[in-house]
Symmetry: C2
């Protein structure tokens, strides 16, 4: 059986929702980020990057959200979470996931995780990074709203792995200081996600 | 026919090499980053992100290196550039690509592209980011050298899309101030890449 290491309010929420959408049997394992459980030797043996998600399969452990999502989609084909039979459509899905992981998630991370890129002692630089997050996240979401989002789901009529991934990140917008009224399509999408039973189960799990 | 927008010494080198490895017919279109050609209205109409690569296909334009690489691998299956018939092995390939795009490339970008995350006027914060790049890139490459790289190619005996992607980034190590003697496997890999005719053709193109 699959096992997923996650922490509430993190990007691992996307993988949790994908597992629920796929109807997968899995064991969720919750990490306590407030006590830095992701930095313990036990967890670093699971994922040397010290992050979530980490998906334990019978063949080994997978990390990085674009990879865990694609793996779930491919191993539960009846869920139609990614168009593996159409290389161009699949590449569009992958492109969206790559944009979220390389640009949007990274923009967000400059708020709380600035020590990934500057010294912990440089409080002024850390403050400068944090101060800029609402601007960079706003720029990213203008691109998503105006150029990428097809509606009603990210890729159009078919729900895909892009949807839980966008949902996990768009849930951070208010706390990142973004005026969400600028992004009606993204916010409607977030509401529509909250109505799904799969998302309700994951929300209940992370808020437990 | 495919068309690839690229600029020398950028991550688009990975996609160029993959096209050569696939034996694809394609037209390379070179952008001049020194004159900010990626920010012209003409190019922003191709890729609103103002970055490379952008791969023009008969169905539309694809961006983001993990997506362009996977698309090439899937549409030229005889090149065996990604194991689409093995979900776990494919997810390992995707995980490696996602790590490069979300963590390693981002670490590197803090040297010259700090204005993505702080104001252009904040010279002290930009300097702090630049100063830290050799440290973050070194940390990333310890993880690649010790935990991810299988050898002789990234994923073991089979050459995959991970190889040109790693090559494009490992080519930046010296200019990022990294002591490459710490990473013998990665440096041997880089040398082995340089011996391939496909890579020789791409190097000749970018140095022309």
């Amino acid at each position: 059986m699959l096992k997923l290491y996650y922490a509430p309010q993190t990007i691992a929420v996307a993988t949790l929702i994908a597992l629920e959408e796929a109807g997968a049997e899995y064991e969720p394992v919750r990490l306590d980020f407030r006590n830095a459980q992701q930095r313990t030797p036990e967890y670093l043996a699971v994922n040397p990057k010290g992050r979530v998600p980490a998906l334990v399969t019978d063949r080994g452990i997978l990390t990085e959200t674009p990879a865990t999502l694609a793996y779930i989609a491919q191993t539960y084909p009846e869920s139609k979470l990614a168009p593996f039979d159409d290389p161009f459509a699949l590449a569009q899905v992958q492109s969206f996931c790559a944009y979220l992981c390389s640009t949007v998630h990274v923009a967000h991370a400059h708020k709380m995780r600035g020590t990934r890129w500057v010294k912990e002692s440089d409080k002024a630089a850390l403050k400068a990074m944090t101060a800029n997050v609402s601007k960079t996240m706003t720029e990213c979401f203008f691109l998503i709203e105006n150029e990428m989002f097809q509606g009603p789901w990210v890729m159009g009529s078919q729900f895909t792995i892009c949807d839980p991934y966008l949902f996990a990140i768009s849930s951070w917008l208010e706390s990142d200081g973004v005026d969400v009224a600028q992004f009606p399509l993204v916010i409607e999408h977030r509401s529509r996600m909250h109505e799904r039973d799969t998302v309700k189960r994951v929300m209940a799990m992370q808020n437990a």
